[in-house]
Every structure is written in structure tokens, then in C-alpha cells.
């Protein structure tokens, strides 16, 4: 089947990309000045201790040997161990990944719901008062430095108004028992509705901060895509059938207009996953972006490598998913 062949081919095509990425990550982080031994030992390290630890970590080997060793591990399903904590990265990364994923999904849901609908309404009521306002807001939205937005939110809603917590994922006096590491799920599984409410409160501010830009982008793309589709001949056909404008818009136009929107959603989801560094920093969100940035600071090579590889893999997989979703929406897609 064409779709299957296409999927397999896409996945095969990922391999060189991932290998390329791993090589790049590997060489980049080794080009970064700073010695992991020293970061482990700190300002009180003696030269002897530094030498010892370098030897123990295999840092004295040439980088390609280290690379092959590392890849050998990866291929046997071992993401390596953190130099800092000596814990297996595959265990360690899960809570971070879950935290980021949860935040990303929530932000994206907000962004898609509001963005798509605002875009549709704008296109439908082109040049109306609503259209102008929505598009101006969207334009401001894409121009918003996310870290500033986050700070402002924190200031206004957490510090001044004290409506919402400003940092973290849950209330540590009443911590969520980790099952899946997805707090919303975990609280629901445990039936802890009080905790669920806490978790949701913690999600609101970072969710909005992270969701604003994709929301604005999605609204703009949806609008222009809708406008283009609304000019299409088949929309005229639908209207010539006597279909009400509402159905013309939400049935005939929307499904077609969603194709570019979907691309953007996929792309943005990927970007959020990895690019949440700033939001996570501001909102003390124990996510994978911070995990990697902290690791960069610590020269924790295995963590940086595996962290980025995991993120990139998810990113490409999301894009693959989007491509496959096209097939569902657009039967014309030829898998070539």
C-alpha cells in the first residue's frame, strides 16, 4: 500500500537525519569550552582529581571513539548515564519529558482551539471589526517576546493579584504521586480531584505564555488559508448547491484549509517541545528544556546528547504524524 510504503520510507529517511544530528551534537558539545570533570568537582578541584575523573569518564579518548561507544550504547537501547548524577538517562528523562509534554499539549490545545476558531471567524467576517481586532491581537501575539509575557503574567497574576501559583507543577505539601508523570492523568487515576485542581492552576500561566505565539500563528495561517480556500471553485460549487454559509465554511472550506494549518501545528508542537526553555526557566517548570540547558551548563555530555536526540526524534515523529494525518484529510496526497 502506498501509504505504508511511504511511511516506511519516511521513517527510513529519519535515520540519516538522526545520525547526522547525533554527530553534530557530539562534535558541538565537545567544541564547547569547559571540562565536565571540572564542573563535577567545582572550584575546589585539584588537578589530580580532575585527571582521575577524566580518565574514569573516558574523556581522554578521541571524540570519535567516544562517539562510537556512545552510539553502540544507543543502539542497544541505552541512553547512557548522567555524568552528574550517574543515573541512567532513560530513567531520569521521563519525568522531565512528561512535564514538558504535558505543558506542550495543554498550550497547544489552547492555541489550536482559540487560534483556529479566531482564524475562521476572521476569514468569514473578513474586514469586519472582529477580523481587525483578532488579527491585530494575533500580530501582537507573534511579536511578543515569550519571556517577557511570562514575566508579566507572573507579576500580575501570581505576585500582585495572587490568583495563581507562579512556579512549579504541583503543590509540594500535597505532591502528586507519580504514576505516568503526567500530573493531570496521575491525579485522575488516583481520583485526587483536589490535586487535579492544583495541577490545573499550575498549568494556566505557563500554558498561556507558551501557547500565545502558536495561537497567534495558527490564527493568522488559518485566516489566510481560509480566505484562499473560500475563493476556490469548489466553495462556489457548494454555495451554488444552496448550502448555508455556516456549512460552507465549517465543512467544505475548513477541511481544505486545515492542510497548511496542520503543518504549522505540527511544526509548532515540535518547536514548543524543545524550545520551551524560556518558559520553563521562568515558571520553574521541571521540563526537558531546562534539563538540557542545565546539562549544557554542567557539560553533562551524555545528557545533552540523549536529551537532544530524544527531542529531535519526537520532533521528526510529530512531523511524520502530521504528514500521515494529511492522508486522512486530503485524499489527493500522493506518497512520492
Amino acid at each position: 500500500m502506498a501509504l505504508l510504503a511511504y511511511s516506511i520510507r519516511r521513517i527510513l529517511m529519519l535515520i540519516p537525519v538522526l545520525v547526522g544530528m547525533s554527530i553534530i551534537v557530539f562534535s558541538i558539545i565537545r567544541a564547547i569550552p569547559g571540562d565536565p570533570a571540572l564542573t563535577i568537582l567545582g572550584e575546589k578541584a585539584t588537578p589530580q582529581a580532575i585527571a582521575d575523573i577524566r580518565e574514569a569518564l573516558g574523556l581522554n579518548n578521541p571524540w570519535y571513539i567516544q562517539y562510537f561507544d556512545y552510539m553502540k550504547n544507543i543502539l542497544s537501547g541505552n541512553l547512557g548515564e548522567s555524568l552528574q548524577t550517574n543515573a541512567p538517562i532513560s530513567d531520569e528523562i521521563m519525568p522531565y519529558l512528561a512535564a514538558t509534554t504535558e505543558l506542550t499539549i495543554v498550550s497547544m490545545l489552547i492555541a489550536v482551539f482559540i487560534g483556529v476558531n479566531a482564524g475562521i471567524l476572521s476569514a468569514w467576517k473578513q474586514n469586519s471589526w472582529f477580523d481587525y481586532c483578532a488579527m491585530l491581537i494575533a500580530l501582537v501575539g507573534v511579536s511578543m517576546p515569550i519571556f517577557w509575557l511570562g514575566l508579566m503574567e507572573q507579576w500580575v497574576f501570581a505576585q500582585e493579584l495572587k490568583w495563581l501559583p507562579s512556579v512549579g507543577r504541583d503543590n509540594s505539601r500535597n505532591p502528586v504521586e507519580a504514576i505516568t508523570h503526567f500530573n493531570i492523568l496521575d491525579t485522575m487515576i488516583a481520583g485526587r480531584w483536589d490535586q487535579l485542581w492544583e495541577v490545573i492552576k499550575h498549568l494556566i500561566l505557563p500554558g498561556i505564555a507558551l501557547g500565545t505565539i502558536p495561537m497567534a500563528i495558527i490564527a493568522r495561517i488559518t485566516r489566510s488559508s481560509m480566505l484562499e480556500v473560500m475563493r476556490a471553485d469548489y466553495v462556489r460549487t457548494a454555495r451554488a448547491k444552496g448550502l448555508a454559509q455556516f456549512w460552507v465554511v465549517y465543512k467544505h472550506a475548513l477541511k481544505n484549509a486545515m492542510i497548511p494549518v496542520l503543518t504549522v501545528i505540527g511544526l509548532q508542537t515540535g518547536l514548543l517541545l524543545g524550545g520551551a526553555v524560556l518558559t520553563e526557566t521562568i515558571f520553574g517548570w521541571p521540563g526537558v528544556g531546562r534539563y538540557i540547558v542545565t546539562a549544557i551548563g554542567n557539560r553533562d555530555y551524555p545528557v545533552i546528547q540523549s536529551g537532544i536526540l530524544v527531542i529531535a526524534t519526537i520532533f521528526v515523529l510529530i512531523n511524520l504524524l502530521v504528514d500521515l494525518l494529511y492522508a486522512y484529510i486530503d485524499p489527493r496526497i500522493k506518497y512520492r
Binding site: L139, Q159, V277, A312
Partner: protein, 301 residues
């Protein structure tokens, strides 16, 4: 060698007397743009910031790097319109000098990405085959990284400084332009006027310079304008993370980061730099939007 039977040709001369003026596509775009109010607002904002940046030494009431510790975090007043920061420096003056940095970084990083991206995109698109495969794969790989992480890594290698932030931003945006140009070249290659150029015996290099590049320019300009907006935000983000401009340079993102701990006590130290970033970025986005509408061939009849 005029021959009488050729006479009917004259029929084609339009009978319209009023002589149409020559409108080049660029001029045409400019006219459309002038009618776009939002784009004009964008131009206004950017011209304002450019003026501020250029005139900074004359309009800034204080130097950006001198303050009195005793004047720490004072609210806006007559002497200090935007208040003072943690070192007792005038925020207004710092914001003004900050315009220089943001515009500089935004513009030059994009110029860098455009030059490199265009070159790579042209090569990939026009020559195809293995060159295309290699370049496209590299773009794929670069795009699979979350761009801010890539920028962080590049700055980490080069060391944190404004100039290195600029380089990092230029590097991470290369694939954006490279892909754009490549796609453009691929579609232009199939255009009949390129075929026509080949048909008159034109060389590849000339086709690229005369036909492909000029026709790729419009989307490059649009994306470039928007790219400046993104680059300014990225530079501010790097500054915010302490990886861009270094003290005491009044880079807006860095000002935000340095003052965030005082947000409750001295919100003016956070609000004004943030607003400046947003306005500048908004300005470029407005222009970009306007340019796209003006230059988009689909909008033409």
C-alpha cells in the same frame, strides 16, 4: 524592406491615446504598500526606532553605563522618565541605546542568513542531484534541532557576547532562507520564462543571476523582514539567558533578565525594555505582512 502586405500589423497598436506610464513590478508593489495602513504604521515604528538608535547620543539624557548606586531602582520621575535600574542608571537612556543593539543584531544576522541561505538554496535547487541531497539533509538536520537550543550551543562554543549571539542567530536561520530559495528555484526552474532563457542559449550562471534570483527576491525580502523580527526576539532571548550582550551593554533582553528580580519593586525596569522589544518586532512584522501582500504574485491580476 517594408512590404505592403505587412500593413495589417499596425492594427495591433492600441487605440487608447492616453499613454500608460511605465510601472515596474517593484514600483507597483510600493504603490500597493503605500495603501496598506498597517504597513505604514510598521514603517513608522521602525523609522522611529531607527531615528532613536541613530540619534541616541543626542537624545539620551544620561550615559547608559553610569549610575549612582544610591539611586538604585527609583520610580519614573521628571529626571528619569522610565525610572532607574539596580545600578541607579537611567532606564530611558538605556532603552534608547538598546535600540541600536537590537536593530543592529536583527538586521545583520538576517543579512548573514540570507546570504548564506540564498547561496546554499541556489546550489541545491539549481544543480539538484547530490548537491541538493547533501544541502537539504543538512537543512533537515538543523531544522530538527529546537532552534534556541542550537543557538545556545553555538554561543556556548563561541563564548557569550553580542557578536557571537549575532553569529548564532544567523546560523540557525540559514535553513529557513535556504529552503525558501531552494523551493523558489525549483518552481522557477519549471517556469516558461526560464525555459525561454535557456532556449535563447543563455548560460546557467546568467539564468541564475538574471532570472532566478530577481524572481526569488520578493519572498526573500518578505521572509527577511519577518526574519529580522524573529532575530530581534532571539537576540533578546539569548540576552535574557545571559548568552548575548554582556554588561553593561543595554540590550533589551539582558535588561529584562537583570531586572526581573525587581519586577515587583521596580516594574518599570522590566516593562519598558519588554515593550520596546515588542514594538520593534511588531513594526517589522507589520512591514513584512504589508510586503507580502504587495509582493505576492497571487494578488496580482
Amino acid at each position: 524592406m517594408a512590404q505592403p502586405q505587412l500593413q495589417p500589423r499596425d492594427q495591433a497598436v492600441p487605440l487608447k491615446v492616453k499613454q500608460e506610464e511605465v510601472v515596474s513590478p517593484w514600483k507597483d508593489a510600493w504603490r500597493t504598500l503605500r495603501k496598506n495602513k498597517l504597513a505604514l504604521v510598521g514603517f513608522g515604528i521602525i523609522l522611529f526606532f531607527i531615528a532613536v538608535a541613530v540619534l541616541a547620543p543626542w537624545i539620551a539624557p544620561y550615559p547608559y553605563d553610569e549610575g549612582k548606586l544610591v539611586m538604585k531602582n527609583k520610580p519614573p520621575s521628571e529626571e528619569h522618565w522610565f525610572g532607574t535600574d539596580y545600578n541607579g542608571r537611567d532606564v530611558f537612556s538605556r532603552v534608547i541605546y538598546g535600540a541600536q543593539i537590537s536593530l543592529w543584531v536583527g538586521t545583520f544576522s538576517v543579512i548573514g542568513s540570507v546570504l548564506a541561505g540564498t547561496l546554499l538554496g541556489l546550489m541545491a535547487g539549481y544543480y539538484g542531484r547530490w548537491i541538493d541531497t547533501i544541502i537539504s539533509r543538512i537543512f533537515d538536520i538543523m531544522l530538527a534541532f529546537p532552534s534556541i537550543l542550537l543557538a545556545i550551543a553555538v554561543v556556548a562554543i563561541l563564548g557569550p557576547s553580542l557578536q557571537n549571539a549575532l553569529i548564532a542567530i544567523a546560523i540557525i536561520n540559514i535553513p529557513t532562507f535556504g529552503r525558501l530559495v531552494r523551493a523558489r528555484v525549483l518552481s522557477l526552474k519549471e517556469e516558461e520564462f526560464v525555459m525561454a532563457a535557456r532556449a535563447i542559449g543563455m548560460k546557467d550562471s546568467r539564468i541564475i543571476m538574471q532570472h532566478i534570483l530577481p524572481n526569488s527576491l520578493a519572498p526573500i525580502i518578505v521572509t527577511g523582514t519577518m526574519g529580522i523580527a524573529t532575530a530581534i526576539i532571539e537576540a533578546a532571548a539569548l540576552g535574557f539567558l545571559g548568552l548575548g550582550a554582556q554588561a553593561p551593554e543595554p540590550e533589551w533582553g539582558k535588561m529584562l533578565a537583570d531586572s526581573r528580580q525587581y519586577i515587583q519593586k521596580a516594574p518599570w525596569t522590566v516593562i519598558f525594555p519588554g515593550l520596546s522589544i515588542m514594538l520593534t518586532v511588531l513594526g517589522f512584522n507589520l512591514i513584512g505582512d504589508g510586503l507580502r501582500d504587495a509582493l505576492d504574485p497571487r494578488m496580482k491580476s
